[in-house]
């Protein structure tokens, strides 16, 4: 178990995973459920256990649409989407500083691309 990674996820997500009462409503409501190897409730549970390595290596990370249905529905206010996002961030940061660079952006622009997507691209997408 990697204690630092768990603490890091606790801090970046701002979520207290111990609030989870294991009702599974997050997974029940998740539109990407079938695409995922690990489901929202498992993210919460595994982060709580400190079992983060399998999550970092799973494609499930990128299946979360950040639709926030789980956040909306969670009776305990745990906010699983934020946990997943924090794990995703951890994975991204582990990949080293090989993000897109600002001068690479103009080539990729097209008129339909929302501004927010461009900003997000800086931290999400690697070369």
């Amino acid at each position: 178990m990697n204690k630092n990674e768990k603490d890091w996820i606790d801090i970046t997500s701002g979520v207290n995973v111990r609030k989870c009462m294991r009702c599974g409503k997050c997974s029940a409501t998740c539109p990407s459920y079938d695409e995922m190897e690990y489901h929202p409730h498992q993210f919460v549970y595994m982060v709580e256990k400190g079992d983060i390595e399998p999550l970092l290596n799973s494609k499930s990370l990128y299946k979360c649409l950040t639709c926030f249905a789980c956040v909306e529905r969670c009776p305990r206010g745990v906010e699983p989407a934020k946990v997943i996002e924090a794990v995703r961030l951890t994975a991204v940061r582990k990949q080293g500083n090989n993000h897109l660079l600002p001068d690479q952006i103009p080539d990729m622009l097209d008129d339909d691309l929302p501004q927010q997507a461009i900003v997000t691209a800086f931290r999400k997408y690697t070369k």
Binding site: K19, G24, A28, P75
Partner: protein, 663 residues
């Protein structure tokens, strides 16, 4: 000269672990007037009290300071001990060095320092304590029960059984409450009506019980043993004394489209109505929101058909005032509103119902005569999904933080009854935990699973979607199989959280009792005084104090009755001698104190005084009725001259404490 004894309790290690009790006893022994200062393992024990008593006799103590737990715990214990040793009980002061010192501080040095200061403050105060004698005030031998559900009925029956008069105030037209709406009861599956209605009838026939149905408490004054309560009897537009309950008016009433609250709005009633066949009192009530005669003066059919002339369109609300010695609160509960849980589609789909609605759907007196049919198209449902913990166990804004306690069991009951009656119906129960702590409860739940083959699935329902074909898609997770399910259901039943009745909050204000943040009444002590409120003479019965099932409610109802009977048995009760008193020589007669007194305990009289210059003057001065004063002290601050003071918490005593703390 004062002779004060100080007794420092170790409370095992509760105090001694963080407070150096020897040092406290040593330090306090040097305080002025202290002639003996001792520490002991358990001061509240028999031998600890003996120690105090012996010291009182041996040293001729004039004041006692106990450094121990909160005075809310053992003040009475030590007062009694002092009294038995011949010292006035009000010459005892407690320094709270456990709850307010040893338990909250970790550092021994600072906790010990604080304990010494608290001890010094108590010594300083006890110097100024005066011996007080408690007066007595008579007890009115009549009890009031607020709420006529099973809790209120049971309490009233028990009090009446002991020979005391008791009034039930019920806001609905009939007593019976929620239990009257329930079909069967767990874990025995006996018929709720069959066990409730005999009690309702018994209550109505008992010579000691008066039922004020369709009534509310509108004002409460007074104090333990002597409450004055104003009861508002709402106009029902039917003379209760004349109505025979024949029901002819309800048959003939042309206004037939009124949602029937007894059946949870699943069918309709008439504007003049009797809630259900076994209603007590069995008297019709006219609903002024729908009655055409009352709304626009056109109709009057009920009045024409009533053979005894009981209909009275001119009836108005009546107020009656009655004195009571004890009041029992039994205001019960309601399921919460589910409108805000969009994911369960409760507001938009008629086939998504609450459990209480299901009770009515399955009841022989319900909208479908006991046949379980879908509310939307009256067809037989083949797949039914139960969702647990809807609004219970939630974080702050999402619902109630507590477990509603009864849902696991009634859902098992529902599932079992459906499988019993309609074996072709598949029943799914989505649960987070199944909680069955009760006699024969777990066995009951296991029967549902093992014998009736109810599908219990651990996991919550995420989304309920009504489909075009009338079916309902239930999307849920199965946490054990780690898969997401879609169930094509015909009906969905939601186990809505329960909450205290809305009338409880204003009632608590009238009764000056405390409530928790969820509006459940707070008991005087969570373990040792579970059926009493912190306000003397007010008792708690049933779900108004917390979620409860029927057997628990009945047990608590009887316990509350026992407590009330204990009070009513007394001819008088000892008053609190810590009451206000006015120094006539200083009183200006300005009436400021009278205006802030919540009990009307202060009156004025003109008295003749010899003035310092030997003349006589007639002055208006205040006097306090010690039997009525409850000792809040509001008057002492309103009084500009300082003529008004409070026994036990006098100006000089409090200032002595302030001085000792700040020294």
């Amino acid at each position: 000269m004062q002779r004060i004894g100080v007794f420092v309790c170790h409370c095992g290690t509760n105090i001694a672990a963080t407070v150096d009790v020897k040092a406290v006893a040593e330090a306090l022994s040097h305080e002025p007037g202290v002639v003996v200062s001792q520490d002991y393992q358990y001061m509240c024990s028999e031998s600890g009290q003996e120690l105090v008593k012996n010291a009182i006799k041996e040293h001729g103590l004039t004041g006692v300071v106990i450094c121990s737990c909160s005075p809310r715990m053992h003040e009475n214990t030590f007062r009694k001990a002092a009294a038995s040793a011949g010292l006035n009980p009000y010459l005892v002061e407690i320094a709270n060095i456990r709850e307010q010192c040893s338990w909250i501080h970790k550092d021994i040095a600072s906790a010990t320092d604080k304990a010494i200061i608290l001890g010094k403050a108590a010594v300083a105060k006890v110097h100024l304590n005066a011996p007080l004698t408690a007066g007595e005030s008579p007890v009115v031998k009549r009890a009031l029960v607020i709420g006529g559900g099973i809790a209120g009925i049971q309490t009233a029956l028990d009090i009446a059984e002991a020979g005391f008069d008791v009034d039930i105030v019920e806001k609905e037209p009939t007593i019976g409450g929620k239990m009257a709406q329930i079909d069967k009861t767990f874990p025995t599956l006996d018929c709720a009506a069959c066990i409730l209605t005999p009690k309702m009838v018994e209550a109505s026939q008992n010579e000691h019980i008066t039922i004020h149905s369709f009534s509310e408490v509108s004002d409460v004054k007074g104090f333990v043993g002597n409450f004055t309560v104003t009861i508002k009897k709402k106009a029902r537009y039917v003379d209760e004394t004349k109505c025979t309950g024949c029901g002819l008016c309800t048959e003939k009433c042309p206004m037939k489209k009124v949602p029937n609250e007894f059946n949870m709005g699943l069918d309709n009633r008439t504007a003049v109505y009797i809630p259900f066949a076994q209603a007590v009192p069995k008297v019709a009530t006219i609903d002024p929101n729908y009655c055409m005669m009352l709304k626009n003066g056109k109709c009057g059919v009920c009045s024409k058909v009533c053979s005894v002339g009981a209909i009275d369109y001119k009836q108005t609300d009546k107020f009656i005032e009655q004195k009571y010695g004890a009041i029992v609160v039994a205001t019960g509960f309601n399921p919460i509103k589910l409108d805000k849980y969009d994911e369960f589609a409760y507001s938009c789909c008629p086939d998504v119902v609450t459990s209480l609605e299901l009770e009515r759907l399955m009841n022989a007196a319900g909208p479908n005569g006991g046949t379980l049919l879908r509310p939307s198209d009256k067809t037989h449902p083949h797949t039914i999904v139960f969702v647990q913990c809807v609004g219970s166990r939630c974080d702050d804004e999402k619902g109630k933080p507590y477990c509603s306690k009864i849902c696991c069991m009634y859902t098992a009951k529902h599932a079992m009854l459906i499988r019993e009656k309609y074996p072709d119906t598949e029943v799914y129960v989505f649960y987070i935990d199944v909680r069955t702590p009760g006699k024969n409860f777990d066995e009951f739940y296991r029967r549902a699973v093992e014998q009736y083959n109810v599908h219990y699935i651990k996991g919550m329902v995420g989304k309920v979607t009504p489909k075009a074909d009338g079916k309902i898609d239930v999307q849920a997770s199965d946490l054990l199989a780690n898969e997401q399910l879609h169930i094509n259901a015909d009906m969905v039943v939601l186990a809505a959280a329960i909450e205290p009745d809305k009338t409880a909050r204003p009632l608590a204000t009238m009764l000056t009792t405390q409530m928790d943040t969820n509006d459940f009444f707070t008991e005087a002590h969570p373990k040792l005084r579970p059926v009493e409120s912190a306000t003397a003479g007010i008792f708690l019965s049933g779900a108004c104090q917390g979620p409860k099932d029927i057997p628990e409610t009945v047990a608590q109802a009887s316990a509350a009755a026992a407590k009330a009977i204990g009070l009513l048995c007394k001819n008088s009760i000892t008053c609190n001698p810590c009451v206000a008193h006015s120094d006539e020589l200083m009183c200006n007669g300005c009436s400021a104190c009278e205006k802030v007194c919540p009990y009307g305990a202060i009156t004025y009289q003109d008295k003749e005084f010899r003035m310092p210059d030997r003349s006589t003057a007639i002055r208006r001065v205040a006097s306090v009725n010690p039997a009525v004063c409850q000792g809040c002290g509001a008057c002492t601050v309103a009084c500009p001259s300082g003529a008004m003071d409070l026994n036990g918490f006098s100006n000089s005593q409090i200032m002595a404490e302030v001085d000792a703390i700040c020294k």
